[in-house]
Amino acid sequence: MSEPGQIALQTEGIGKRFGSLVVSKDVSIKLPRGARHALIGPNGAGKTTLINLITGQLRPDTGRILLDGKDVTGLATAARVRRGLTRTFQINTLFPDLTPLEATMLAITEREGTSGQFWRGLASHASAVEEAYEILVQLRLGDVATRTTRTLAYGQQRLLEIGLALATRPKVLLLDEPAAGVPKAESGELFQVIAALPDDISVLFIEHDMDIVFNFATRIVVLVAGEVLLEAEPDVIRTDSRVREVYLGHGHHA
Amino acid sequence: QETVKIGLIMAYSGPFADTANQMQAGIDLWLAEHDGMVGGKKVELIKKDTGGPAADVAQRLAQELVVRDGVDIIAGFTLTPEALGAADIATQGNKMMVVMNAATSVITEKSPLIVRTSLTIPQLNYAFGKWAVEKGGVNSAYTLVADYGPGHDAEKAFAKGFTEAGGSIVGADASPVANPDFSAFVQRIKDANPQSVYIFIPGGAQPPAIGKALSDRGLTPPDVKVFGQGELTLPEALESMGDTAKGIITTFHYTMERDDPLNNEFVKAYRDANNGRSPDIFSVGGFDGMHLIDEALKKTGGDTDGAKLVEAAKGMAWDSPRGPISIDPETREIVQTVWIREVQEVDGKYQNVIIDQIPNVKDPLHGAAK
């Protein structure tokens, strides 16, 4: 796993501050190909910010981001996405008046570079339609593929968040609390979908529900006040006293 | 009973609504005084609004008047672009077109069927420029005009007359047409320290604004002479300017206060019909336009053929409230007396008092390409 060619995503000494507030401090993490890693930490620790930095919504003050060994720090978000670095949002960021099918197709045509073709009818992109539909079916959104997004149940919208990300054919997928607001029973299913993604996709997810984290993550990064406190296997995290003190609290016994 | 249909194309709405309003009141007054008849026939007015300076709209309206409403004569024309827009239609439809306000010289060249009863800007200002040197007692001037066609025309004509008479123009500025604040321009004038200032601006809110700006800087007669075309001292402007207007000298073809029986009667009747509002150049342009139509129709015996009517109008001469006027048979352009007026206090109120006159003035630039 530690072979350099195997590292899909790597950050080196990422630093970021908002005024006097340090939100990232010398963050260096590695995400191997095919990984299912979790990113946890107290509220406001800088988890979402880290994802924003990695994907280019924010610019780091210091440090580099390597995707497949190549420096992408200077690239715009869209360019990173086209190289396979995609994220979802903690708070739904969808297209309320498009249908899931349209939204997914949009992502696909952007990926294929056909989104600028104003002379071709939408229906003529047959393979894109098919692919979009497949993605939605895979996420059990097949039934609602042609309803407008705003009428979908909250949980379905969370799934669509992931669907849009998948449509970009990511190599690295960063998920920001994908199950937030999804009832317990359904969040398990949602993570099963994530776990079942192809092996060549590397996943890093943020989640506050420890049952899920311990069930699905093979490795966990703990971020506290912008710094990596610890990175280890779930069993180590579970019993680490520092993690317990700043994050887990005492209710969560192994 | 036979009727004559007259189509009026004016900017009844928009920023020039007041102009159209006054023209209309002039037209209405003439009709009221003549039982609503021209050339012995009942008049039917068809009013069309251009909504502002809109050449394409004016063109369409003229066309509609001709093909849809079947008018005999088109008239009105608050603004130059509108008159220009409609000119072709007049030619194509063989209708006499009476321009009752728009004042750019070139208009009458656009169609042989156009006759004008208002003025041209060079007509007023070329003679005035000469007068300013010869009788106004100055030989340097700074000009400030509104930055649009009429303003440029005015500046050119005044400067031409002024320099021909031996004066020199020491500075010239153009202010944006919708300029709300003149302090910058007035300061420039002050810096140049001329003997006199010449101003041309459209009526409305600007005259008092510029008058006050001048007086705030101490640019007032007798220290510095202020010349302008008559819009500068319209009655509303005088009311608002108060004593700062004293001594301003303007050129105009109509002066409401001119003591003359015909004019006094006109003013009184106009005020009675319009809630006390006084007539102005626009009113008189409309009023005289109707007279012209009436006389021309009488001459043709009611024939409304455009070419015949225009032929009849050529050389026509009559007494208007503004004084004696006639139509130049060559250019179909109005020939009139240019009045030089000064703002003076009369019975505790400021008004324009005629101090000189230049009779029978033709448009000086006419025929020459602009």
């Binding site: 994907t55 280019g56 919504q57 869209a78 996405v81 086209r82 995609t86 994220r87 949002f89 960021t93 969808l94 297209f95 309320p96 498009l98 949009l106 992502a107 045509t109 952007e110 990926r111 056909t114 989104s115 073709q117 104003f118 002379w119 009818g121 939408l122 894109a128 849009l164 449509a167 970009t168 | 009844y12 709405s13 009013k47 069309k48 609004d49 909504g51 502002g52 300076p53 809109a54 050449a55 394409d56 369409r60 066309q63 509609e64 093909v67 849809r68 130059t80 672009p81 220009l84 827009g85 072709d88 194509q92 439809g93 750019t104 070139v106 656009k110 930055d147 649009y148 066609g149 440029h152």
Partner: protein, 309 residues
């Protein structure tokens, strides 16, 4: 095409048979409708609000006018293309500014550019004729055969054909994957980069197309009236077209056409009845539409149809 659409376009032919004296009005409506469609492309589909689109309309109008008045080239169809290309080129340059701002700033930048163009045209009186307008425009007969007649048969046929073409092109655009991308931008710009979209480029593209189309509309006006006045560039024209578009309903192309028809017809009729106060009725119409048909007239109609159908 649906039945509705066929009926709609056929009804556009009615003036030829039933209202021949309204043909010039009809051609002004068609020209305005084309202009409104160009605005719908950016406002209704890509969410770019504008208060300065007359800039492109006017540029097209002046280019067509100058071709004839200064260069003596009065051939109408090539004139349309040249005017559209020029307006599109300026639109492309302007688009670099446009994509940098949103909301109020966007509104005001478009307004500012519009006014700048207007003032520029006024300042270049030697070229444009300034406030007096450009004189000497003379458009040749179409295909060297159809003269622009007093009644407006040629003008309306010509404008209607160009409108139909503009409409078809626009419809193709909005129903393409590009159109989908535009809707995506309108719905949620923030998400676009995250799905790999260079959305600014999309916006620049549609802005350029729209500018070109507005330029064609302006050129049509010049050619069918043989006049160009400064007013083609005015703020009023920019504002009016937006009003018509919202009135008809944004983001549906037909709304642009319907809005132009209704606005100009109501205006014509109201001004015919009372030239001084017609805008009172227009104002009332706008207020009532907002209160009772918040998605514009077409939006209201389509809701009605859906409810009954």
């Amino acid at each position: 095409m649906s039945v509705f659409e066929i009926v709609f376009w056929l009804s556009m032919l009615l003036p030829f048979f039933f209202f021949p004296t309204y043909l010039t009005l009809a051609s002004q409506v068609a020209i305005t409708a084309l202009f409104a469609i160009s605005v719908d492309l950016i406002l209704g589909y890509a969410g770019i609000v504008t208060l300065g689109h007359a800039m492109f309309f006017g540029l097209g109008a002046y280019v067509a006018g100058l071709l004839s008045a200064r260069l003596g080239w009065g051939e109408p169809i090539s004139g349309l293309f040249i005017a559209g290309a020029f307006a599109g080129l300026v639109g492309f340059v302007a688009s670099y500014l446009i994509v940098r701002v949103q909301h109020m700033a966007l509104l005001m930048v478009t307004l500012g550019l519009g006014f700048l163009t207007y003032e520029l045209a006024n300042a270049m009186t030697w070229l444009t004729g300034g406030t007096d307008g450009l004189s000497g425009v003379n458009t040749w007969p179409i295909f060297n055969h159809f003269r622009f007649d007093l009644w407006g048969y040629t003008a309306y046929s010509y404008s209607l054909v160009v409108l139909l073409l503009g409409f078809l092109i626009s419809r193709r655009i909005v129903n393409s994957s590009f159109g989908l991308a535009l809707r995506g931008i309108r719905e949620n710009v923030r998400r676009m980069p995250a799905i790999g979209s260079e959305h600014r480029w999309h916006l620049q593209k549609v802005y350029t197309i729209s500018a070109a189309m507005a330029g064609v509309a302006g050129a049509l006006l010049t050619q069918s009236t043989n006049t160009v006045a400064l007013e083609v560039l005015s703020f009023q024209r920019s504002a009016d077209v937006v009003v018509m578009l919202i009135l008809g309903g944004t983001g549906r192309l037909y709304g642009a056409i319907l809005g132009s028809i209704i606005f100009l017809l109501v205006r014509d009729q109201a001004a015919g009845l009372n030239p001084q106060y017609w805008y009172f009725w227009i104002g009332l119409l706008l207020m009532i539409v907002v209160l009772f048909l918040p998605k514009g007239i077409l939006g209201g109609l389509s809701r009605l149809v859906r409810r009954n159908g």
